[in-house]
């Protein structure tokens, strides 16, 4: 009877052996990293690393596919590190590194797979082919895996360039664009599975493809993929928290905007029969904006605390800060509009779409057009 009633069992009874194995791997892996690389970390960074153990384990228990992703990324990264064996020159000699899992190769594969997945999802949507949609999903999974491998290996490579050059790869526009692609697609994968909504892949992947386009342009035209040492202002453990939190926000808002487009098209009868029901799209949009808003709040607070330590004031009305506030206010307004009867539906979808422009401006527009204290990337 209990099963029929869907009664939740206590957490620890619900965990399988694989869950425990995963947690053990996370703990083992991170503790090993601590013992091996601890000398490069300050006390805060060690604390962050230790706190990551329960967080990652809990995240894997909450979202099961993450366990496989984590193990795959870890294993491939270790293979890459083994192949390097402390010698950067191996990048051009070792076959695996040269063509697959050196940071740059892995990231380029990620880019290619995202573009392919976009096409596949759209073909799946138009042909109503579940097979194609599933293929799209598989491609995104592989892309995410390789993207994370790319970042992990890049982290290692940066230390090979020089122990004082090494740093976590979230410090310039190139790296955060990769991070953006990864976080956005992971969030999408979660919603896709949860809502059985593979038809939305084509929409979300458009924004990821745009980011991929930027990465490629930035790489080939500007050589932005080169690892540069950190400017003094960025040498802080705050960066490890502030930047990823921000990108959960940016990613979630982008997803919401693309779902807004899907919603509006469907409301006009375009692709309506192929897309999930409007309520479903609306619900995912709300979920995305909620998580985005929560993380953006945290990111802004962390940013303020970092600013207090680096610039001598938690709020300086620097353009980047101010635009973060504008983005935040925009989505606060969105959340309240949703609470007013009669303003929901297309109005909210439009607002989410416009929100993407606000977000994009805060993300790169500020770096392009305005000057300020934020120094991680100028175009």
């Amino acid at each position: 009877m209990e099963i029929a009633l869907n009664q939740p069992a206590p957490l620890f009874k619900r965990l399988t052996w694989f869950d425990w194995l995963f947690a053990a791997i996370v703990a083992g892996g991170l503790l090993f990293a601590l013992s091996r690389y601890g000398e490069f970390m300050d006390i805060y960074e060690k604390a962050i690393l230790l706190a990551a153990i329960p967080s990652l384990a809990a995240f894997g228990w909450f979202w099961k596919p993450f366990r496989v992703l984590f193990i795959a990324v870890g294993a491939l990264s270790l293979v890459a590190i083994g192949q390097y064996d402390g010698d950067l020159g191996r990048m051009e000699q070792a076959f695996l590194l040269k063509y697959l899992i050196s940071s740059q190769a892995a990231i380029m594969w990620m880019c290619a797979l995202f573009l392919l997945a976009t096409v596949t999802y759209w073909a799946g949507l138009l042909a109503r082919s579940d097979f194609l949609n599933r293929t799209g999903t598989a491609m995104v999974w592989v892309a995410v895996t390789l993207g994370f491998v790319g970042l992990m290996v890049r982290w290692y490579e940066s230390y090979l360039i020089g122990p004082d050059v090494g740093h976590i790869p979230v410090s310039n526009l190139y790296e955060v664009f990769v991070l953006f692609c990864l976080i956005t697609s992971m969030m999408y994968l979660y919603y896709e599975a949860r809502y059985q909504a593979r038809q939305l892949g084509g929409f979300v992947l458009i924004i990821i493809s745009a980011a991929v386009g930027f990465i490629l342009w930035y790489t080939f035209d500007r050589g932005a993929h080169e690892i540069q040492p950190l400017v003094p202002a960025l040498k802080s453990w705050w960066m490890k928290l502030h930047v990823p939190a921000n990108f959960v926000g940016y990613g979630a808002f982008s997803i919401a905007a693309m779902l807004g487009v899907a919603y509006l098209l469907s409301a006009r009868g375009i692709l309506a029969s192929r897309l999930p029901k409007p309520e479903v799209i609306d619900d995912i949009m709300y979920k995305a904006i909620a998580i985005g808003f929560a993380f953006f709040t945290i990111a802004t607070i962390l940013g303020a605390m970092w600013a207090a330590e680096a610039w001598g004031g938690y709020w300086s009305w620097d353009p980047k800060e101010t635009w973060a506030l504008i983005v935040w206010l925009n989505y606060a307004a969105w959340l309240h509009i949703r609470l007013v009867k009669g303003l929901r539906g297309p109005m909210l979808a439009w607002w989410a779409v416009v929100g993407l422009f606000v977000t994009t401006f805060a993300f790169i527009g500020v770096n392009m057009f305005l000057s300020g204290l934020h120094s991680y990337g100028e175009l």
């Binding site: 050196s102 740059q104 190769a105 040498k235 607070i301 303020a304 009305w317 504008i326 307004a333």
Partner: protein, 670 residues
């Protein structure tokens, strides 16, 4: 209170607490915030005048657009937001608090039957046994359940997720807290004092000690954010606060001294760290503390946080050698200077003021070469992330100065101390520009085989010297003509041409020559004439170098490529001198560097309030999003059960959960 004010108060209350008003406020605040990111804030007022013109400058100033975020109208919007949130909390508090406690067990059967989410089941179980099972089920699902007896059966009233409501209080109260904290760190007190005439902004450029009390803030000032620059070996007991078009002096409760400022560099030359070794003395001069601060690692003393904010030159001593560029001799003179100080230069052309503005011990320059992305097959995969910085090079020290003439016109110069190699030859470089937004244009002066400027200066002097011209022209003509043409008319003509070319060149460089050609030579023959003149000039210059060396008792120049280039480069350089804008060139011979560290000092009592508010905000937001508030009622009568469900927010999760409960009821009722 009469009814009119009462109803006004009521509608104000309604307005402030209405959601549409809240949405409008959030949007207006967002839009207003944009202004300050588009128009650069807190620039010197002169920049605005230049940018906007005098009329719009005044309009913008009236609107407070140079410091938007402290403008009165901006504060009014913020105040409205705080008022709106407060009224909103005030209005919702009683309801929400009641809701958190209440099970709403008074609900009538009719109203349950009118619920959108309801489900009925027939049952053979007795009301008590079904109720016991259902209660166990709901408890298992995380609900708090209250059982109430009703005349013909009973009612289970269940609720879950009351923290959602708590989240509402936390998040919205946090907004108020954060705004209050921000206000505490703002400049409201000063603004009030300014309005009452108790404080005044200082706009004059005078020594700090002469700033009158009306523009000084006491050490007890509860909140400030100022900055100060301290040269190595000096100290400061004040900070400066930039306000509008002036500043205020903030007296500190202690004295900060800078022992040393250090910059470390990566191997590629980019800066790696900025550090200051500080000493803190109390007012009586007793040393209380020593500390090293760096970017991201401030020192907190006496509630005042001291940050590494910037660095600058702190008055480096410069020993310079000067050349008079238009003199006929290569004689030099010595000048001593200190960065941030002025020196007067007296010359035949009038007096000049030399204003030394900066000194840089390192200059990392990109010396040639494009970025090549990817070299081989790797290019397909994006190339290597290992940057080759082979084009980046430290080209050594440089110093900057302004040369101001008697009329007050100034140009800015930037001279490198060490020669630079360009196209395989070595030059001394001196940059010039008229305004700070321009890039420097460089005068390149060639070095001779012994690596000095002597040959260049000697040749320059000879070419500037009208007395030498007949001899130069004569030697040139003899060299150019076969012996049988000597002492003929052709030689005279050639001599005349050479003298003319040399004279023209000495008054205006190539520009003068081409002007002359354009004026005198028909268009079709200009190219040819130019070529001829150039040839004459180069050969004459070579003769001039011979003469100059002889006069200076130097060995004659070798007749080789290097000399050829020296002559050509000298001519180019000489020609550029006419647009260089200064009659002298200053070469840096020696320096004694003194650095200065820019510190930021802040006292912000609101910080902890803001941080506490931030914590509440985060908690509140998570509670509101991730604790779902919902209620379930199960009305059980003999043979029949009615399940109804409600929530403040309807999401798909809610529908799913309702379906699950309905199914559970069916199972239990069976």
């Amino acid at each position: 209170m009469n009814t009119a004010t009462a109803s006004f108060g009521k509608s104000l209350f309604e307005l402030l607490s209405s959601m549409r008003f809240a949405i409008s406020l959030l949007s207006i605040l967002a839009i207003a915030s944009i202004i300050g990111t588009v128009l650069k804030q807190a620039e010197p007022y002169n920049n605005y005048v230049i940018q906007l013109g005098p009329y719009w400058f005044q309009v913008f100033e009236k609107l407070g657009l140079y410091d938007v975020y402290h403008a009165a109208w901006f504060l009014v919007i913020l105040t409205f937001l705080v008022a709106s949130v407060s009224v909103c909390i005030w209005r919702n508090a009683p309801n929400f608090a009641r809701e958190m406690k209440s099970f709403r067990e008074q609900v009538s059967e009719q109203s349950l039957a009118a619920f959108k989410h309801k489900h009925e089941a027939v049952t053979a179980h007795s009301p008590e046994s079904l109720a016991a099972q259902a209660e166990a089920y709901l408890t298992g699902q995380g609900y708090a359940v209250k059982r109430v007896a009703r005349d013909d059966g009973l009612l289970l009233a269940a609720k879950a997720g009351k923290w959602n409501r708590l989240g509402y209080f936390l998040a919205h109260a946090a907004i108020v807290l954060i705004c209050i904290g921000g206000l505490m760190d703002g400049n409201l007190v000063f603004k009030a004092q300014q309005l009452l005439g108790m404080k005044k902004i200082e706009t004059r450029d005078i020594p700090q000690s002469e700033v009158p009390a009306i523009s000084r803030l006491s050490p007890d000032n509860p909140s400030f954010r100022g900055s100060v620059q301290i040269p190595e070996g000096s100290s400061a007991d004040v900070a400066f606060l930039n306000v509008a078009d002036g500043y205020l002096v903030q007296d500190l409760p202690f004295t900060v001294a800078l022992k040393q400022f250090r910059i470390e560099h990566y191997s590629t030359g980019q800066p790696k760290s900025f550090e200051s070794d500080l000493e803190i003395f109390d007012r009586s001069g007793k040393k209380i503390r020593e500390a090293t601060i760096a970017v991201n690692h401030p020192l907190i003393h006496d509630g005042i946080a001291i940050y590494q904010a910037s660095f600058a030159d702190g008055g480096t001593k410069l020993s310079l050698r000067g050349w008079n560029l238009f003199a006929s001799q290569a004689a030099t003179f010595e000048v001593d200077g200190v960065v941030h100080q002025n020196t007067t230069l007296t010359s035949a052309a009038g007096d000049y003021t030399l204003e030394f503005t900066d000194f840089r011990p390192f200059n990392i320059e990109n010396v040639g070469g494009e970025i090549d992305t990817g070299r081989d097959a790797m290019a397909v995969l994006g190339g290597s992330p290992v940057s080759d910085n082979k084009h980046l090079r430290n080209v050594g020290p440089s110093f900057q100065y302004k040369l101001r003439d008697a009329r007050g016109q100034a140009r800015e110069y930037s001279n490198y101390m060490l020669p630079m190699q360009l196209d395989d030859r070595w030059y001394m470089m001196s940059g010039v520009r008229e305004t700070p937004n321009e890039a420097f244009r460089y005068l390149r002066m060639p070095l001779d085989a012994s690596g000095s400027l002597d040959s260049f200066m000697r040749l320059r002097g000879a070419l500037m010297n009208p007395d030498l011209r007949p001899e130069i022209a004569a030697r040139f003509a003899r060299q150019a003509l076969p012996e049988n043409a000597w002492n003929t008319e052709i030689e005279d003509k050639l001599k005349f041409s050479a003298s003319q070319v040399l004279a023209l060149f000495a008054t205006g460089g190539f520009q003068a020559l081409s002007g002359f050609i354009e004026a005198r030579v028909p268009e079709a023959e200009r190219d040819k004439a130019a070529e001829t003149y150039l040839r004459i000039l180069e050969l004459s210059a070579f003769e001039a170098l011979q003469i100059a060396n002889r006069l200076d008792k130097q060995p004659p120049p070798a007749a080789n490529d290097a000399t050829g280039w020296l002559v050509r480069d000298t001519l180019n350089s000489l020609s550029d001198m006419f647009v260089y804008g200064a009659p002298i060139y200053l070469q840096l011979m020696q320096y004694d560097e003194v650095k200065a560290s820019g510190l930021q000092l802040t006292r912000s009592p609101g910080k902890s309030v803001v941080y506490f508010g931030s914590l509440l905000l985060t908690l509140g937001v998570f509670f509101m999003f991730y604790v779902r508030e919902r209620r379930v009622w199960i009305r059980i009568k003999p043979g029949h059960a009615l399940l109804a469900m409600s929530a403040a927010k309807h999401t798909l999760d809610f529908d799913k959960e309702f379906a699950q409960h309905a199914q559970a009821l069916d199972t239990l009722a069976k």
